[in-house]
């Protein structure tokens, strides 16, 4: 076995030092009835060649589709330099940077990540990353409750991605926090409903999405004031790729910004690994869960980076910690850091522009077929909902047969379609012609 270095002679010599006669002797204290004494029902060991063939065969059972699906996960451009850097063993196989003297590589890229996330969102501080956007939003909910001290009700807009909402609701359920939905009106958050729900003065936080689940860019003018007048925190779940263009959570007046950074070039890989982010205004930094990297100096006065504000964390505070989160999603934070470095503001804007153009072109062409109509009349970014005259499932089937992932079906007659900078005009035209030909 190539991963075990022990020769028979090694084993014998080491057993002698350990003072036992056999490998079984190392487990001598374990009650007999607990010992596992049969063969595992697992396959026999496979060689590298066999494993490659095995997974290639499995991979062929996945469709290689042209992706027009979004709903929180999008097919973005992945610059070629990222994967080789991530696969460097010094990054890939490092532990959490608890020994800063030999972890400056990890600590510095997390510092860079934090800096860039704050630039994009406009927030003051962020942690070193979270598992994904859904859990980051759940943690934002927990922050609100912790900041408010005696309030345990949060409001979530009905225009939030249901995948995010249900994770928030799960976390809330076990903590005795009530999650109430803010009604949706014409595809956007009903601000009248929000105002009336805030009136009870018992709301710890309000969680909104931008762009929302339907791809609509909502106008949140006045919302922050509305929340703050009732001493509620405003949380915005945002898509970072759009922030090169869209008003930042800070500019909207949000106290906490969160979301998934998958849109910063991370491969879709059937749901993960991605990376969540969680940022806030300075006043709440002590309530921010997870790791945070700060700049300092070493004994020789050299600039250096270190995990800081650790007294908030589970390994010190145990049951009194803000959160149980232990790791971050470090390597994926490196991924998006390199992505943002390669793209810069200019590249991000260009990708936004391509996505926006493609999506609006697709929407217009689909409506022109007469087989689809726009569900909402609202500004959207790179994703939108269309109502289909034939069952949406039938549309998706026809597209699938042509190797196209035709969006996400959100009702029997409604599709959510997404276009990124990866989609060409030809691909869009193909999709439209297939829809046009459906009888």
């Amino acid at each position: 076995m190539k991963y075990f270095p022990h020769t028979q002679q090694d084993i014998e010599q080491m057993l002698a030092v350990a003072g036992v006669k056999s490998l079984d002797g190392l487990f001598g204290e374990i009650p007999q009835q607990l010992l596992f004494d049969r063969e595992f029902a697992l396959p026999e060991a496979m060689s590298e060649a066999e494993i490659r063939k095995f997974f290639e065969a499995l991979g062929k059972r996945n469709g290689d589709l042209v992706c027009f699906a979004g709903a929180g996960v999008e097919d973005h451009y992945s610059p070629s330099v990222i994967a080789p850097i991530l696969s460097r063993g010094e990054f890939l196989t490092a532990y959490t940077p608890y020994q800063p003297e030999i972890s400056q590589g990890t600590l510095q890229y997390i510092f860079e990540y934090q800096s860039m996330i704050c630039e994009l969102t406009g927030m003051d501080v962020t942690n070193a990353s979270m598992y994904d956007g859904t859990t980051a939003t759940a943690e934002a909910m927990m922050m609100c409750v912790s900041i408010a001290k005696k309030r345990n009700r949060v409001l979530v807009s009905a225009t939030m991605d249901p995948k995010v909402r249900r994770v928030v609701e799960t976390y809330a359920k076990y903590q005795g926090v009530t999650v109430d939905l803010i009604a949706e009106k014409d595809g956007v958050t009903d601000l009248t409903d929000l105002e009336s729900k805030l009136a009870a003065d018992d709301v710890a936080g309000v969680i909104l999405a931008q762009p929302n689940f339907y791809g609509i860019v909502e106008d949140y003018t006045g919302v922050a004031d509305m929340c703050h007048a009732r001493k509620a925190q405003l949380v915005m779940n945002v898509k970072p790729s759009t922030l090169a263009v869209l008003k930042t959570p800070a500019e909207w007046g949000a106290d906490i910004a969160c979301g998934d950074a998958q849109s910063l070039g991370i491969p879709m890989t059937y749901g993960g690994p991605y990376v969540g982010f969680l940022a806030c205004v300075n006043a709440h930094v002590r309530k921010l869960p997870g790791r945070i990297v700060g700049a300092t100096t070493d004994v020789d006065g050299k600039r250096a980076f270190v995990l800081t504000l650790q007294a908030r964390e589970q390994h010190i505070r145990r049951e009194k910690a803000n959160s149980n989160i232990c790791s971050n999603q470090s390597l994926m934070a490196l991924y998006v850091t390199i992505y943002m470095s390669v793209m810069g503001h200019k590249g991000l804007k260009e990708a936004c522009c391509l996505s926006y153009s493609g999506a609006h072109y697709l929407a217009e062409q689909l409506v022109a077929t007469g087989k689809c109509s726009m569900v909402h009349d609202k500004p959207f970014f790179n994703e939108f909902a269309v109502r289909t005259t034939v069952p949406a499932a039938k549309v998706q089937e026809a597209l699938l047969a042509a190797g196209i992932l035709g969006g996400v079906r959100i009702a029997d007659d409604t599709l959510l379609l997404c276009v990124t900078e990866q989609r060409t005009k030809e691909e869009i035209d193909t999709l439209v012609s297939i829809v046009n030909n459906i009888q």
Partner: protein, 126 residues
């Protein structure tokens, strides 16, 4: 050898209260600040918050430890020591001058349950 001031009342959890009229100044003892090491942050309640004897009202953080603050007395917070926000190290340099909260005592007799300087000195084994 820690500094222990006469005339103050001490809790087992290493907070002191200095009583002046109807008010009590609550902070942590010299022994406590020494055990914690360099204080980097003091988490304080807000003015008008109620505190209850024996219950948590905040925390003191050092680089790799955090210690809950347990109120030795009950009452209403009338002042917090804002200077600690910018200079938490004041707790290290003089913990008695740098109290953490000023409390309007709701039950001044409560201090009778606390230790005097001699008893506290014995409690910390000095």
């Amino acid at each position: 050898m820690s500094t222990i001031l006469e005339g103050l009342y001490y809790a087992e959890s290493h907070e002191y209260v200095k009583v002046e009229g109807e008010f009590g100044y609550v902070g942590i003892t010299d022994y406590a600040q020494h055990e914690l090491g360099n204080v980097v942050y003091v988490d304080m309640p807000e003015v008008d918050d109620e505190v209850t004897a024996g219950e948590n009202f905040g925390a003191v953080e050092s680089v790799k430890a955090a210690s809950d603050l347990i109120s030795p007395v009950s009452g209403t917070v009338v002042e917090v020591n804002e200077a600690l926000n910018d200079n938490p190290e004041l707790v290290n340099s003089d913990p008695y001058a740098n109290w953490i909260i000023k409390v309007q005592l709701s039950d001044p007799a409560e201090v009778e349950n606390l230790m005097d300087a001699a008893a506290y000195k014995a409690a910390i084994g000095e």
